[in-house]
Amino acid sequence: MTSAPVLEVRDLRVQFDVPAGRLPAVDGVDLTLRQGEVLALVGESGSGKSALSMSLVGLNRGPRTHITGEAVFKGRDLVAASERELRGVRGKDIAVVFQDALAALNPLHRAGAQVSEMIRAHREVTRGQATSRAVELLGEVGIAGPDRTARAYPHQLSGGMRQRVMIAMGLANDPAVLIADEPTTALDVTIQAQVLAVLKRVQRDHGTSVLLITHDLGVVAEVADRVAVMYAGRIVEQGLREEVLFHPQHPYTMGLLGSVPPIDGPVVRRLPTIAGSPLTGVDRPSGCAFAPRCPFVHDACAERPVLRQRHGDAGHLDACVLPSPARVTARSQGGLA
């Protein structure tokens, strides 16, 4: 069963002017977010996952940023939309939850006021209605004393509480899409578990489509329905959570999964590693971007591989020209069966 697309990204490119030239942060991405799903965008620092998501809501526009391609939401291309049009979309139809809630919240306003402000920015309601809805929302995200929290300033709240306030703000206008950019990265594991549970529950109750940006494969396993793996601005693998995490097709995904020391199962003396370090400069290979680090690199890798279904199940796409038997070997070396 496949639900309807909510957001369709086509050949998205985001380039930043840097002293050395133009940095291709997002290098031709096609991606579809479907109704009611949690799609995890996974990658390491500099892979372009945040640049991609921020460009969807126009948060990285500027004289040094060049964005091309399409991001179609409700029949409208967000890449071509004016800043004025985007202001009507942001926080209403598409909301963003950031990693660093302390920086994202206004330190001078009480938590409740920030949530009600979000409601009033997009809806014709009275101040009183917005205030009581804000308290309701704070309760919905699992805050035990929502009245008290509504009156608190951000610095008086713990990291977990601040992140809940961010989620309440995100949900304020019942958005179709919630972009959550590393929402639990700054939190301790017990608090992360609480916040992920809240995120899962509100997503289910509201039928919100969530684009979850994360570097943490454990978080992906916990909450995602589908996964897209990014490397050097490109999606190298995409599919259902179960498929990508447990039957990875791309050597980068295999390497990434193998590098995570698990909390159960046998302890290996040496962790499998990926040689070298990620591409961060302006120069990118014309072929496969992972080729310089790939143990299976061969002549065919000189040409840029397209993302399509190759050896995985339906809907499981990868951008690797490796034939099937070599993938089996690669998977065993990555440390994951």
Partner: protein, 320 residues
């Protein structure tokens, strides 16, 4: 039975609190770190694990208590004696960007502990630095460059080379791989475990990441609100944690496992205010199995099986 290289006894660290009182960051911690072992120290933000690591090296002055290193009480050392002993005790920091002086060359950064604490000559230092940079996989030519020319993972290797320069016996690694991406983290972890083995190092490995700790540590100590609440061998701990907090901590870690998403034990509430801790057991306000006894009587850290201690009236594993 391996002898302890470091023995902390009733170690207490206090900070001035907001309203004039004292906040206790370490509550009379007793800890033995055995010769040649890697002890993993885990716990959440604010539990005191970094404070403990720093107090053991006397980077933070304890309010009271003793730290015996190889038979001498570190808390009584002053001046030259302290400097000489410090050569044996080194630290690898979390932040690969903040912990290296941006104006200095890598060779000078790595040589500093050698020149200061060991009184090496320039020529000796130059030779050792070249060897160390090779050892951590950067190559001797890295010595002429400056920190900004290196990536996060490479800087962490520089931090490791610096920590090893004075040939210490004991190293504290405080979240040493936490800021790194997983593919780079695995490289640095492998390097650390090779060095520990080859050089016979004793290490206190502080981390919030239980998978990483399980990979590298021989024994595990868990902290909560300035106390050690459990100590066990790695295998015993991960097979069956004895403290309810340890169990909740393990259960909160998202795991990569096929099949149905598992039932997590989600711990309610947050860490109590350390300036105003609960009476009795410090964990009882969040503990799913707390009883009246836990409210009235603070549990002691007691040995429940050989090599296994827990601070709980109702440990989750049978007592021998």
């Amino acid at each position: 039975m391996t002898a302890a290289l470091i023995q902390a006894r009733e170690l207490r660290v206090e900070y001035p609190g907001r309203s004039g009182g004292r906040v206790r960051a370490l509550r009379d911690v007793d800890l033995d770190i055995l010769q040649g072992e890697t002890l993993g120290l885990v716990g959440e933000s604010g539990c005191g694990k970094s404070t403990l690591g720093r107090a053991l090296l006397r980077v933070i002055e304890p309010a009271s208590g003793r730290i015996e290193f190889d038979g001498t009480d570190l808390t009584r050392l002053r001046g030259r004696q302290l400097r000489r002993t410090r050569a044996e005790l080194q630290m690898v920091f979390q932040d690969p960007f903040g912990s290296l002086n941006p104006r200095r060359r890598i060779a000078d950064i790595v040589a500093e502990p050698l020149l200061r604490a060991r009184g090496a000559t320039r020529a000796e230092a130059t030779k050792t630095v070249a060897e160390l940079l090779d050892l951590v996989g950067l190559g001797a030519e890295a010595g002429g460059r400056r920190p900004h020319e290196f990536s996060g993972g490479q800087r962490q290797r520089i931090g490791i080379a610096r920590a090893l320069a004075s040939s210490p016996q004991f190293v504290v690694a405080d979240e040493a791989v936490s800021a790194l991406d997983v593919s780079i983290q695995a490289q640095v972890l492998n390097l650390l475990s090779d060095l520990v083995r080859d050089r016979g190092l004793t290490m206190l490995f502080i981390s919030h990441d239980l998978g990483v700790v399980r990979h590298i540590a021989d024994r595990i100590a868990v902290m909560y609100l300035g106390q050690i609440i459990e100590i066990a061998s790695r295998d015993a701990f991960f097979a069956a944690p004895a403290h309810p907090y340890s169990r909740a901590l393990l259960s909160s870690v998202p795991v990569l496992r096929p099949g149905e998403k598992r039932e997590q034990e989600v711990l309610e509430g947050e860490l109590p205010d350390p300036a105003n801790p609960p009476e009795g057991c410090l964990f009882r306000t969040r503990c799913p199995i707390a009883t009246e006894q836990c409210r009235t009587t603070a549990p002691e850290l007691r040995e429940i099986a050989p090599g296994r201690s827990v601070r709980c009236h109702l440990p989750l594993v049978p007592t021998e």
